[in-house]
Amino acid sequence: MTATDDVRMIEAEAAPTRYARGWHCLGLERDFADGTPHQVSAFGEKLVVFAGEDGVISVLDAYCRHMGGDLSQGTVKGNEIACPFHDWRWGGDGRCKAIPYARRVPLRARTASWPTLVQDGMLFVWNDPEGNPPPEGVTIPRIAAAEDPEFTDWHWYTVTIDGSNCREIVDNVVDMAHFFYVHFSFPTYFKNVFEGHTATQFMEGIGREDIRPRKPGTNASVGNSSVASYHGPSFMIDDLTYHYEDGMDIPAVLINCHYPIDANSFVLQYGIVVKKMPGLNDEEAAAMAQRMGDFIRIGFEQDVAIWKSKARIDNPLLCEEDGPVYQLRRWYEQFYVDAGKVTREMTDRFEFEIDTTRPNEAWRREVEANLAARDAAANDPADAGQTV
C-alpha cells in the first residue's frame, strides 16, 4: 500500500439528518386523486395523501393522534380521512373534525399538515423544518406545455433509491462529463448559473451515433438544446428541444425531481411532455414521448447503479474540465440551514462555463473507436449466421 502521506483521502461527513426546505413534488395529481388514501414515506416520516370529495388534495402525518392508527390504511369519508382504528375524522387542515362515537372532539386535536400546491398536473408539498409556510415568491414556475393540448400528457417514471442521500442526484446538474459516460449524451456546450434559489444548466449536445445508430430512411435526432433549472432543492424543469436531421425541432419539457425518504434513501421521479408533431395522432405522439422517456430512463438507471456502489464524498478531486461541484454544494446548503442563517455566499450569482474542447476531442475519438469496433464485429466471419 502506498505511503499514506501521498494518498488523497476521501472525506465525508454523515448525510444531514434534516431535510431540505422547499417545494417537493410527490408525483402526478392524477395518481393521488382517486378518493383513496396514499401512503408516502418522506422527510423521515410517514405521510398520508388523500383527495376529498371536493377534489382538494391534502397531506397529513399518517399517524392518528388518538391511538396511533395509520391513516393511510383508512378511508376517505367526505372531505376527511377516517382512521381505520376508531374512525376519527381528520380534515386537510390537520384538525380532527369528528369522532362518531364521542360527544365532542378533545382540545388540541390537531395533527401535522403540509402545505400543498397542485400545478400543471403535479402535486407538491412544502417542507420546512422550522415549520414556516412558503415565503412569497418561493414557488414553482408554471409549465405552459403541461396544459397545452398540442403537447402529450405526462409520461412519468418513479424509482426508489436505497443507500444514497439525495445530494447525489443534485450533483448531476454540474457534472458535464457524466452526461457522456452515464447518460450517453455528447455535451458540446455547458454552463451553470446559480442565483437565489435556482441552479441552472445550459447545455447543447449532439447525438451519439455509437449509441443510437441512424437507421436508413429515418429522420434521426442530431442533437439537443436544453435549459434546465432547479427551482429550489429538488424540482428541476428541463426546457428541452430535440433537433432532427431534416431541420425539424421537437420541443419537450422534462421534469427531474426527488423527495427524501430519509437521510440515505430518496424517491427519484422524472416525466416528459413532448410536442405532438404534425402528422402524428395522439397515440403516436404518446409513443414518441415514451420512447424519449425510456431513453432517459437508461441514463437514470445507470446513475442508480453508480450511486449504489459509490462513496459519499465531500472533497471531490476536480480537474479543470469538471463543473462547479463545490459551488453547487454551497448553493445547495441554503436549503439545509434555518431561513435566517442563509448567507449571501449561498445565494449570490455564480457562473461557470466549461471549455468543452478537450472533452469533445476525447469523446469524438471514443465514438469513432466504438463505431470501428462495431463495424469490425459486423464483418467478422465468426459472427456470420449469428442471429442473437
Binding site: 405552459a144 448559473v193 439545509y336 449570490d348 450569482r349
Partner: protein, 106 residues
C-alpha cells in the same frame, strides 16, 4: 455540513475584475481561453446594465439570465492583455486566414 473549498482554486484563485461597461465588480477565473468562472455579488447584479435590460424570457426557466456579453468581453480583454492569468498556458488560437491576425504570423 460545511462546504469545502474547490481544490482548483488552490492553484489559481478567483481574481477581482471590473466590467468595462458598467464598472460592476466581480471575481473571475479562467482555466483556459474558453473557460470562465464568475462570482457576482448583489452590487454587481444591481449595476449590470444588460441584467437590468433583460426581461423574463419564454418558458418555465425564462427568468434565468445566461450572462452579460459586456462582462464576458471585459474578462476576455483582461486575459488578452495579460491582466488576468489563464491557467492553461496554451496561446490564444488565432485564425491565420483572418486579416486581423495577419501580424501574428508575419
Amino acid at each position: 455540513m460545511s462546504v469545502r473549498p474547490d481544490n482548483r482554486l488552490a492553484d489559481v484563485a478567483m481574481t477581482p475584475l471590473a466590467c468595462t461597461a458598467c464598472g460592476a465588480g466581480v471575481e473571475v477565473r479562467k482555466s483556459s481561453w474558453d473557460q470562465t468562472s464568475i462570482q457576482w455579488h448583489q452590487d454587481a447584479v444591481d449595476a449590470c446594465v444588460e441584467r437590468r435590460a433583460t426581461t423574463v424570457g419564454a418558458g418555465p426557466n425564462g427568468a434565468a439570465f445566461a450572462g452579460c456579453a459586456a462582462l464576458r468581453d471585459s474578462v476576455r480583454a483582461a486575459a488578452v492583455r495579460g491582466d488576468l492569468r489563464v491557467v492553461d498556458e496554451e496561446p490564444l488560437k488565432a485564425n491565420p486566414e483572418n486579416p486581423e491576425h495577419a501580424d501574428d504570423h508575419a
